[in-house]
């Protein structure tokens, strides 16, 4: 898989293009992680609780994710109450996994640099 880090491509070695701005935000990363571990979807209230967000923040971040087609929001009537639920899309799933791979690459690069620094210092 292409990580986007450009590990072997010389000049752009540390570009990390795969660190998607839409995902690379604490609240949205938290929302996507919750949805990845609940593939059947989560209700608005559960998502709010799991991610520690207010109604306004949750709406705002979900809108960003929905616009990027990373999540699907649906409304349904349950026990005579309108329930909003949210599910990750196939694209969202793929982009999230790519993001994790790039994040892993960043940490591995940092670890390698730290090790190198240790060797030159010591």
């Amino acid at each position: 898989m292409t990580t986007g880090s450009g590990r072997d491509s010389g000049a752009a070695r540390f570009a990390y293009a795969g660190l998607d701005r839409v995902i690379h935000e604490k609240a949205r990363l938290s929302l996507l992680t919750s949805l990845m571990t609940h593939p059947k979807g989560l209700r608005f209230g559960d998502l709010k609780q799991l991610c520690g967000l207010t109604d306004g923040n949750l709406n705002r971040h979900l809108l960003v994710l929905e616009t990027a087609k990373l999540v699907r929001i649906s409304k349904e009537i349950d026990h005579r109450r309108m329930q909003t639920s949210c599910q990750i899309t196939a694209l969202g799933r793929r982009r999230y996994l790519e993001y994790l791979a790039v994040l892993e690459r960043v940490i591995l690069d940092a670890a390698a640099a730290t090790k190198l620094q240790g060797l030159t210092d010591g």
Partner: protein, 202 residues
């Protein structure tokens, strides 16, 4: 450095958590179907040439252990390649979880065959039925992450195992069909469910 290692471990933990709750789509219908046809073909051959392929319980079981080894190799290869393709970055934790679900039943089947052959060869007639029952337990364990119709396969193997025990009781050599029909039909059923079941689940 420790913090970086902790961060890497956390990423792996996230991958593991995702793998634990998502459907496993690594099993390929092609190799499973071929293993079913192989079982039916070998049963037909054993029924036609019993003096050559099933003259005694030992030969009978060696033939079926060979069939199981070939089927296991085919399905493992397809599962490995398919999982890498379908699950990409999640391939390792997904394969690990699939193994955790199914491998204990297979492992128990191998040990059971060895124990019966070594300590109680007179009870070898029980083996087809016991293998099918163990296989059903492996299928049931894998059910939550496969199409929901897969539980029918579990029931098929469980029922077939009990019928095999009833049908083979007292006989010196089991009928080739006691292995061929349960595994042949069962694997073809698995292949059909893998091919069409996920579409319904999606």
């Amino acid at each position: 450095m420790l913090e970086l290692q902790k961060a890497l471990a956390e990423i792996n933990e996230i991958r593991g958590a995702i793998a634990r709750v998502n459907d496993f789509r690594g099993y390929g219908p092609l190799s499973v179907a071929v293993s079913g046809l192989l079982a039916l073909g070998v049963a037909l051959a054993q029924a036609n040439w019993p003096t050559f392929l099933a003259p005694d319980p030992t030969t009978y079981f060696f033939v079926w252990i060979g069939v199981a080894a070939v089927a296991a190799m085919m399905t493992s290869l397809e599962t490995f390649n398919r999982t890498r393709r379908v699950h990409a970055d999640l391939a390792v934790p997904m394969l690990q979880r699939a193994l955790e679900q199914f491998a204990p039943a297979l492992f128990a089947g191998v040990l059971l065959a060895g124990a019966l052959a070594y300590f109680a060869p007179q009870a070898l007639w029980l083996l087809p039925g016991l293998w099918q029952i163990l296989f059903s337990l492996g299928v049931f364990a894998s059910c939550p992450f496969l199409p929901r119709q897969m539980s029918i396969v579990g029931l098929w193997y469980l029922g077939a195992g009990l019928v095999s025990i009833a049908a083979c009781s007292g006989g010196a050599v089991c009928s080739p069909w006691a292995m061929g029909v349960p595994f042949g039909v069962g694997q073809l059923l698995v292949a059909a469910i893998l091919r069409y079941g996920f579409r319904q689940k999606a």
